[in-house]
């Protein structure tokens, strides 16, 4: 299976503090990989390095064979992301925002693509509304529509359903599953929501103190480590990461 994303020995240090410590993993086409970890584990740092907005101290990141450090435009035109802390400018309408980012990503037949995404994410009625007046769920859908503009081969999601009600969150998960199922893309999904990770992800990576401690199928991983649920395993990882260090080579 072709790897969409390949991360090797990624390191990031802020001053004397190690934020990411020799992290290596891959994401394949048609795969949704969950990135789990407590606050400050290094999830967002890892995602930011993959996006090219944060320079690693060491390691390589390749997106469909393009090194983000030396072939940034080629790598990023195949990538997109949505994050709870990166809303689209609130002083532009939904359509204006999608048009601007569509141009930035070099999307062809942009008007048709925008219309399709507005339909897909039920945003038609908000087309000419400023993003700043939308509810959090609506804004999340706009961000996801932006993230799908260029039909990315690698989709990075950093807590995309945070602050959403369960019904909207379920809808968003379904859309992302559908997107990954099309077979051309891989998804890296950082989340604290164990239920959602279990439901959506094919594989999870547990990261704590900048290291990947565990990886595996979210449905079977807890039992392998003597825990009943993913949440119990997460709490164990968060509280005593050193006991699990070394389990993931």
């Amino acid at each position: 299976m072709q790897h969409v994303l390949s991360v090797k020995n990624l390191c990031k240090t802020y001053g004397g503090k190690i934020a990411v410590d020799k992290v290596s993993f891959k994401v394949s086409q048609n795969e949704i990989v969950g990135l789990l970890g407590p606050n400050g584990a290094g999830k967002t740092t890892t995602i930011n390095m993959i996006l090219g907005v944060l320079e690693p101290n060491a390691g390589t990141i390749t997106i469909e064979g393009h090194d983000i450090a030396t072939q940034r435009p080629a790598a990023l035109e195949r990538t997109n992301f949505a994050a709870v802390y990166a809303p689209l400018p609130g002083n532009l309408t939904v359509c204006q925002n999608l048009r601007i980012f569509g141009l930035l990503y070099g999307v062809k037949n942009l008007s048709a693509r925008i219309s399709a995404l507005l339909g897909e994410f039920n945003l038609g009625e908000f087309r000419d509304k400023k993003c700043g007046v939308l509810s959090s769920g609506e804004q999340t859908r706009v961000c996801l529509a932006k993230a799908m503009l260029n039909n990315p081969h690698l989709l990075l999601l950093d807590e995309p359903t945070a602050s959403l009600d369960p019904a909207v969150a379920k809808d968003i998960r379904a859309r992302i599953r559908e997107f990954a199922a099309k077979g051309t893309a891989g998804v890296l999904w950082a989340s604290h929501n164990m239920y959602e990770v279990e439901e959506v992800c094919d594989r999870v990576l547990f990261i704590a103190s900048g290291k990947i401690l565990l990886q595996g199928d979210p449905k079977t991983l807890p039992r392998r480590h003597g825990k009943k649920t993913l949440e119990e395993l997460f709490i164990a990882v968060a509280r005593e990461p050193l006991t699990l260090e070394g389990e993931f080579p």
């Binding site: 802020y14 967002t44 740092t45 930011n48 996006l51 090219g52 907005v53 944060l54 320079e55 940034r72 435009p73 080629a74 990023l76 035109e77 990538t79 992301f81 994050a83 709870v84 802390y85 990166a86 809303p87 689209l88 400018p89 609130g90 002083n91 532009l92 309408t93 204006q96 048009r99 601007i100 980012f101 141009l103 930035l104 990503y105 070099g106 932006k146």
Partner: protein, 258 residues
């Protein structure tokens, strides 16, 4: 650029400042020059000396602010992460800021010229073809300062925006907008000679007095302006690299997360 167009289209509070403050300046200085013409026994009219200088100085300010305002829209909307996570390159981003600066300053310039020529009789014929290098040098220096100011805000954070607004006022005493450079003490004259606008305003005064503008001075001013643009772009690139190394790009947005 499209973003700036969308923002301007829907916002009177963005469109009016493009020309209203410059227009107020022209009106104010227009009447000041009329008064000075009436009470002084100078052998020349103050209109091209003062009003012309004010118009060109305001044009320089509009150019600089056009660049910085375009940058600030991304600061205010915490849009850096979204923008710099796209395939957009740094030269393309800076190019967009510059083109926005050109467009917005052109609006201000048209408004000022219309007001100054129709109401106060300012004629650019006195400057002749030298008006072209006058505008060009001020334009280039405005772009350079705009890019440098943007780099400063990127490096120091959103609150540093308040360092940007006073920059033209801090430069104006040294630029000799209203008086010859020789009026200044020696140490200020040294700084004046490093500022491209000072060569423009000295040339204007020379022409109005019946003399000729210094070709070498204008050339030197132009070369300085180009040098400052290159230096400003280099500084912005350095600050951007620092921001990517330290995570400042990501944190500009992450500051909104509690």
């Amino acid at each position: 650029m499209l973003r700036q167009f969308y923002l301007m289209r829907g916002s009177l509070s963005r469109v009016l400042p493009l020309f209203i403050w410059a227009a107020v300046d022209i009106v104010l200085w227009g009447f000041i020059t009329r008064y000075l013409d009436a009470v002084s026994s100078a052998s020349f009219t103050f209109v091209p000396v003062f009003l012309g200088a004010v118009l060109l100085w305001d044009f320089f300010i509009r150019v600089m602010q056009g660049v910085t305002m375009a940058f600030f829209e991304d600061v205010w909307s915490r849009n850096f992460l979204n923008i710099f996570a796209t395939p957009l390159s740094l030269p393309e981003y800076l190019g967009g800021l510059v083109i926005t600066g050109i467009a917005t300053s052109a609006i201000g310039l048209l408004a000022m010229v219309a007001l100054a020529t129709t109401v106060f009789g300012l004629s650019f014929l006195m400057y002749g073809l030298l008006l072209i290098p006058f505008i060009l040098v001020l334009f280039l220096f405005g772009i350079a300062l705009g890019i440098l100011a943007s780099a400063m805000v990127l490096r120091l954070g959103p609150a540093a925006e308040w360092f940007v607004w006073p920059i033209p006022a801090l430069i104006s005493p040294f630029a000799g907008v209203f008086y010859p450079i020789s009026t200044l003490p020696q140490w200020m004259q040294v700084i004046s000679h490093l500022l491209p606008p000072s060569y423009i305003f000295e040339s204007i005064r020379a022409i109005v007095s019946g003399g000729a503008a210094s070709g070498m001075g204008l050339l030197w001013g132009g070369c300085l302006a180009v040098l400052y643009i290159l230096a400003a772009c280099w500084a912005f690139a350095r600050v951007y690299r620092h921001a990517v190394r330290t995570g400042l790009i990501a944190r500009y947005s992450a500051e909104s997360v509690s």
